[in-house]
């Protein structure tokens, strides 16, 4: 048993989509004004652009997610967090900013498969349609009864994060939503022709 255990790590479920609990993920929350001087300093330090509202920028094993008008989330390897925290704290010494390590506070899941959008629409009231939620976008919303973040990595893959204490709940709810026979064919219309052949015109 490793000393470091992410919630549900290694859990997997296969249904309309694949759901996989990810290993520990470094996560640093930054609350600050996203004004020009903060942008410049952050960009210089991270080597990443600052994401536009509702989006993310990604470079290698790092990403910066827009969480709110005054909040960003930096994703990086778990082991790289202490050094990055130190650099951030030095860089922003005396600035009005809250830099917090939230690596252990949230559980991350990878969801993938052609029915991704339909499954997500069963658990979140956010608009998940292809026009409204394009790859690279980030939404904070609900997952059934708990808070969740959704980062669309590609047309058929999303990274979903929830508070660690409800990782088990989120995994179960997602697995149920992806259960057999639950195809909706709402967002993925190409599959409509397979739909219930017994409906008549």
């Amino acid at each position: 048993m490793s000393d470091v255990m992410a919630p549900m790590a290694g859990a997997r479920s296969e249904g309309l989509i694949s759901i996989e609990a990810l290993p520990p993920q470094g996560q640093i929350s930054l609350r600050c004004e996203v004004s020009d001087d903060y942008r410049a300093k952050l960009g210089e330090l991270l080597g990443l652009g600052i994401p536009e509202p509702l989006s993310a920028v990604e470079e290698g094993d790092r990403a910066l997610l827009w969480m709110a008008h005054d909040e960003l989330l930096l994703l990086l390897p778990y082991d790289a967090v202490p050094e990055m925290l130190a650099r951030l704290n030095t860089t922003f010494e005396g600035w009005f900013i809250a830099i917090t390590d939230v690596s252990d506070a949230r559980a991350q899941f990878r969801l993938s498969g052609p029915h991704l959008r339909d499954v997500l629409s069963k658990v979140t009231p956010a608009d998940i349609s292809p026009d409204a939620f394009t790859p690279g976008m980030v939404r904070r919303s609900r997952l059934a009864q708990v808070a969740a973040g959704y980062w669309l990595r590609s047309a058929s893959e999303a990274q979903v994060f929830v508070f660690r204490s409800v990782a088990d709940y989120a995994f179960q709810v997602l697995s149920l939503a992806a259960g057999p026979g639950g195809e909706v064919h709402h967002h993925t219309r190409e599959a409509i022709s397979e739909q219930d052949a017994s409906s008549h015109v």
Partner: protein
């Protein structure tokens, strides 16, 4: 008799026979049948008994408006009452039973009620059974309960076998109703390029048009429907849903759809129902119209049906409800039924047309087919009991004297049509009376409006009162375009599809047949089939002074059954308006509420059942607790170990063992659920001085301070240890259940009141696993793990330090909630489980004992520490709890300060915290009151205090308690009488327990144990 015709049936596949049972009798139907059509094909006219009089009832309609044919469907874990036979698609092995009959459908004891009808008039609930008073409880209510009600509830121990889910959809235009109007509206909206969601409650597109005939764009309606559906299916921006009912329309374009995914193939994989939660910019209500019954005596006898339903059964299912059908009408449309029946080779002995002049072209067509047409005539009464045997005809103008009896086995009636205005009305759309059509229709000048004050629902087709095919299509065409315009989009001009259908003569409003029906006829003329409301009941209500339609509805129960008056409301209010002598528009109508027809509880609950009924929050050590037989205490959405009973050990014994082990040597507590909120920024100190009653800005870096948080009314809200992390950051510990609320409370003040203060908060509750290491050997354990100096000198009481223990990064707080030497250790949550294991392993030599929340509670009570939710209940201020020391006198302000200066808060004589010890050493009952002399104005015994916490203390080997007592701290040593747990009800005197007022600190009052 009702029977299957040799040919026909648009929906049925005669090659596929399906077997099912009704009340245990075997029937066969075809694929595509509804349960209703298959029952009619098997000549099963009688399908249930009415609610009040237990009158035999048959199928009246062919769709969602059916009031009578409600059955118990399925068995065991799939049994469901009150299912409409007319909307239940037939499947192989279907099992249905009729409802509300005893002992059998054919012979029903309750029918005696019908003989007593004169004793069960409108409002009988309110007036019949008042006297003698005791009879209500012992006679009337049991009898009524036995015979009233519709379906029976499923067995309480049975669990629904099916799965349900929600689906959130966002669309530009939602169109409810897949008839020709809905299709045309969808077509227009779709061609403008916006997102369109079209839903239809039935399993087929096209609605009534294929049955009612005519042509659209020179095609038969059925062909036009197929062509239009194909056109829509080919478009990327259109979503089509069958078996999905528009259930409700709510504020801001929110709508609910109720999709019956596998009702027609039970046991199939997948959810049974799916609740669509839709956000639409515009909603088009193309929900059609419903035919009205006529009010004549015996209009509820099985075999009397709506004329349109008769047509539906013939065309859609190849089923004829009767061999000889009398048609009775006040309009031209019903002639279509007569013509169709005749053309199908069935007998139509007569058409009774209440209009003196009769009808137009359709009447001529009927006459040309040789059908006898009787203008100005109506039905005096229907003959027959369990099924129609004939009708007595009369002049519509008279009182009901019989002119002639006509033998028949079915009656097709039509009193005109009512637009389905429900979705229009749900969110505030108003109606206007259409005198020509004799119905209420949506008033476009008073539409439901959205957040921008503009209409967001558009009625289309017959739902908007345009009953003719061409008018309906034109209206729907306009509705589709209007929806596009409302969104600020343009559309290409396109012609309205050209439709042709036979012109119709005007209808004559007929609310009672015959117009002057005698009392005995009115008592048999039913308005509301499901609730057994007759013409005479509504007239009686009017005579008794019920002038408001809303009051009359509730008094008579008109329209209050599960069909919500789809057939009865207009007829009922017309009778009321006549009785009141006021025109119908002035009498008004009741308002439709969602859902349109009942939807399942399963659909509402969605996935929230069983393991995911609610989120269960888990700490990083939850697996260990489960594996070690924890008994649980529910704390918010957490489940915390209450104690860890060993095999054969009671909970009480386990708690005592855990306390003794901790006090004597070493205990371990999973405290991860405690809230941990970071407050950071240049104004953080100033902010916390407002949040807490204490001064937090002066807390030195490296120190901890216990703090109290009050709401603006002065009441104690939360408590916990506040830690100064750095010059501009503090970490606030909160109660386990209070973390989210306290965080929201802080953000509320920061965002709404002090938005210019430079403060950020972060809820870090879940970032850390927190473990309390408690007991005389706590320091030895940490020293054994090694890595940092935890000595008294390096880390005195109420300080903290960052460091490493057992090669794990930790933050150690020297705080104590037990009175023992104690360290609370925060580690990154991902390392929590491993660190817990290391503590257990290294602590074995001191008999390290994990303890639960009950041991925690007892130990804090032994020390006189308060617990939020026990000593506080939302009405308690810190001063009540002797916590004056934690209320800063230096601060100009803090939340709650001014409230605590109000007279009632500052008055002498508030109940205050004390310790309580029973004279016999027993444990006081929780919540018990201390009684005082005399009684209050309500004749209740006066009280002078109550118990807030009470436990058995294994440390002191006796019961200990805390309580709030009037002038308590000034009354040390006084003995009070508390109400005992069990009272002897036969005696007036209270059984009491005596307890002495003592200091609330029972154990180690000088705090020597924690400060070593």
């Amino acid at each position: 008799m009702s029977t299957r015709l040799a040919t026909g049936g648009r929906f049925t596949d005669r090659g596929k026979q399906i077997g099912f049972t009704f009340n245990g009798r075997r029937f066969t139907g075809f694929e595509g049948d509804t349960l209703a059509s298959a029952l009619l094909a098997g000549d099963q006219l009688l399908v249930g008994r009415s609610f009040k009089y237990h009158r035999p009832r048959g199928i009246v309609a062919s769709g969602a408006e059916e009031p009578n044919a409600l059955v118990g469907l399925g068995q065991g874990a799939r049994f469901e009452p009150d299912q409409r036979a007319t909307t239940t698609e037939l499947f192989d092995g279907l099992v249905a039973e009729s409802q509300n009959h005893w002992p059998s459908l054919a012979f029903d004891v309750g029918e005696i009620n019908a003989k007593l009808a004169r004793f069960l008039p409108a409002g009988f609930y309110y007036k019949t059974f008042l006297w003698p008073r005791s009879f209500w409880k012992y006679v009337y209510e049991p009898v009524i309960r036995q015979s009233a009600g519709l379906g029976k509830a499923p067995h309480p121990e049975v669990r629904d076998a099916d799965r349900y889910e929600h689906f959130h959809a966002h669309t530009d235009v939602l169109i409810v109703g897949g008839g020709v109007a809905g299709l045309q509206a969808a077509r227009n909206a779709a061609h403008a390029g916006v997102q369109v969601l079209l839903m239809e409650q039935a399993a087929h597109w096209g609605g009534r048009a294929p049955v009612d005939g005519g042509t659209i764009e020179e095609l038969a309606p059925e062909a036009w429907v197929a062509q239009t559906v194909a056109e829509l299916e080919a478009m990327d921006n259109v979503r089509l849903r069958l078996r999905c009912m528009g259930a409700g329309v709510y504020d801001h374009g929110y709508a609910l759809g109720y999709e019956r995914v596998t009702d027609h193939r039970p046991g199939a994989q997948g959810p049974r129902h799916r609740l669509w939660r839709i956000r639409a910019k515009q909603i088009v209500s193309a929900t059609g119209a419903i035919e009205r019954p006529l009010s004549f005596a015996g209009n509820d006898v099985p075999g009397v049906m709506l004329a349109s339903a008769v047509r539906d059964y013939v065309v859609n299912y190849g089923v004829a409800p009767g061999d000889r059908t009398v048609v009775v009408t006040n309009n031209d449309d019903a002639y279509r039924t007569a013509i169709l029946l005749k053309q199908s080779g069935l007998d139509v002995p007569a058409i009774l047309d209440a209009r003196p002049m009769g009808g137009g072209a359709l009447m001529q067509e009927a006459r040309d087919l040789g059908i006898r047409v009787e203008p100005a005539r109506g039905i005096s009464k229907v003959l027959g009991g369990a099924r129609v045997t004939g009708v007595a005809i009369c002049d519509q103008a008279g009182g009901g004297s019989m002119l002639e009896e006509i033998a028949c086995d079915a009656v097709a009636m039509s009193g005109g049509w009512s637009p389905v205005v429900h979705l229009w009305s749900h969110c505030g759309g108003k109606l206007t009376w259409d005198a020509d059509g004799a119905f209420f229709r949506p008033d476009p000048s008073r539409a439901p409006t959205g957040a921008d004050g503009k209409p967001f629902v558009i009625a289309a087709g017959s739902a908007n009162g345009h009953l003719g095919l061409q008018e309906a299509l034109a209206c729907a065409d306009g509705a589709g375009k209007a929806a596009i315009e409302a969104m600020g989009c343009g559309f290409e001009e396109s012609p309205v599809p050209k439709a042709e259908s036979t012109a119709e003569a005007p209808l004559l409003p007929v609310w009672l047949m015959p117009q002057g029906a005698r009392a005995d006829l009115r008592m048999k003329a039913f308005l509301d089939y499901q609730n057994d409301v007759k013409v005479s009941d509504v007239q009686l209500a009017a005579r008794e002074g019920y002038e408001s339609v809303e009051h009359a509805k509730r008094y008579t129960t008109l329209g209050m059954a599960t069909d919500q008056g789809k057939l009865s409301n207009i007829n009922g209010l017309a009778i009321l308006s006549d009785a009141l002598g006021a025109p119908i528009p002035q009498t008004g109508t009741t308002t439709s509420r969602p859902p349109y027809t009942p939807i399942s509880f399963g659909a509402i609950a969605g996935e929230a059942r069983d393991a995911v009924f609610q989120p269960l929050r888990r700490t990083p050590m939850q697996d260990w607790h489960e594996a070690n037989n924890a008994a649980w205490e529910i704390v918010g959405q957490w489940r915390r170990p209450y104690c860890y009973p060993r095999p054969g050990e009671s909970r009480h014994a386990a708690v005592n063992r855990e306390i003794s082990a901790t006090r004597e040597s070493l205990g371990l507590l999973d405290a991860s659920t405690l809230g941990k909120i970071l407050v950071k920024g240049p104004d953080a100190g100033r902010f916390l001085d407002m949040m807490y009653t204490n001064m937090m800005s002066t807390l030195p870096v490296g120190k901890c301070r216990y703090g109290l948080m009050c709401n603006e009314n002065g009441f104690l809200m939360d408590d916990g240890v506040v830690v100064r992390l750095s010059e501009d950051s503090w970490l606030c510990h909160t109660t386990s259940g209070g973390a989210d609320h306290v965080h929201a409370h802080m953000e509320d003040w920061l965002q709404c009141e002090w938005w210019d203060w430079k403060v950020y908060t972060a809820n870090l509750t879940e970032q850390y696993a927190q473990i309390a290491v408690v007991g005389p050997n706590a320091r030895k354990l940490l020293e054994k793990l090694g890595g940092m100096d935890v000595s008294k000198e390096a880390m005195p009481f109420m300080t903290w330090a960052d460091g490493r223990l057992a090669d794990t990064p930790v933050r150690v707080y020297r705080i104590s909630f037990s009175g023992e030497l104690s360290y609370e250790i925060a580690v990154p949550a991902n390392r929590g489980r491993a660190f817990w294991g290391k503590l257990l392993e290294a602590g074995a030599e001191w008999n390290i004992t994990p303890y639960g929340t009950e041991a925690l509670h007892v130990m804090r009570a032994e020390k006189g520490f308060i617990m939020i939710g026990d000593e506080s209940d939302g009405t308690v201020i810190p001063q009540d709890l002797g916590l004056h020391w934690a209320i800063s006198k230096k601060k100009e302000d803090f939340l709650g300060k001014r409230a605590q200066q109000r007279p009632d808060m500052a008055r002498d004589g508030r109940w205050q915290l004390v310790g309580l010890e029973t004279l016999d050493g027993s444990v006081l009952p929780d919540g018990a009151y201390a009684i005082a002399a005399g009684k209050n104005a309500n004749g209740q015994r006066n009280t002078q205090g109550r118990v807030t916490s009470t436990y058995f203390s294994p440390t002191l080997n006796k019961g200990i308690a805390m309580g709030l007592v009037e002038h308590g701290p000034d009354r040390m040593g006084e003995v009070l009488s508390f109400t005992a747990e069990t009272q002897d009800e036969t005696r007036d005197e209270l059984t009491t327990v005596e307890a002495k007022i003592v200091s609330p600190v029972f154990f180690d009052p000088k705090g020597e144990k924690q400060d070593v």
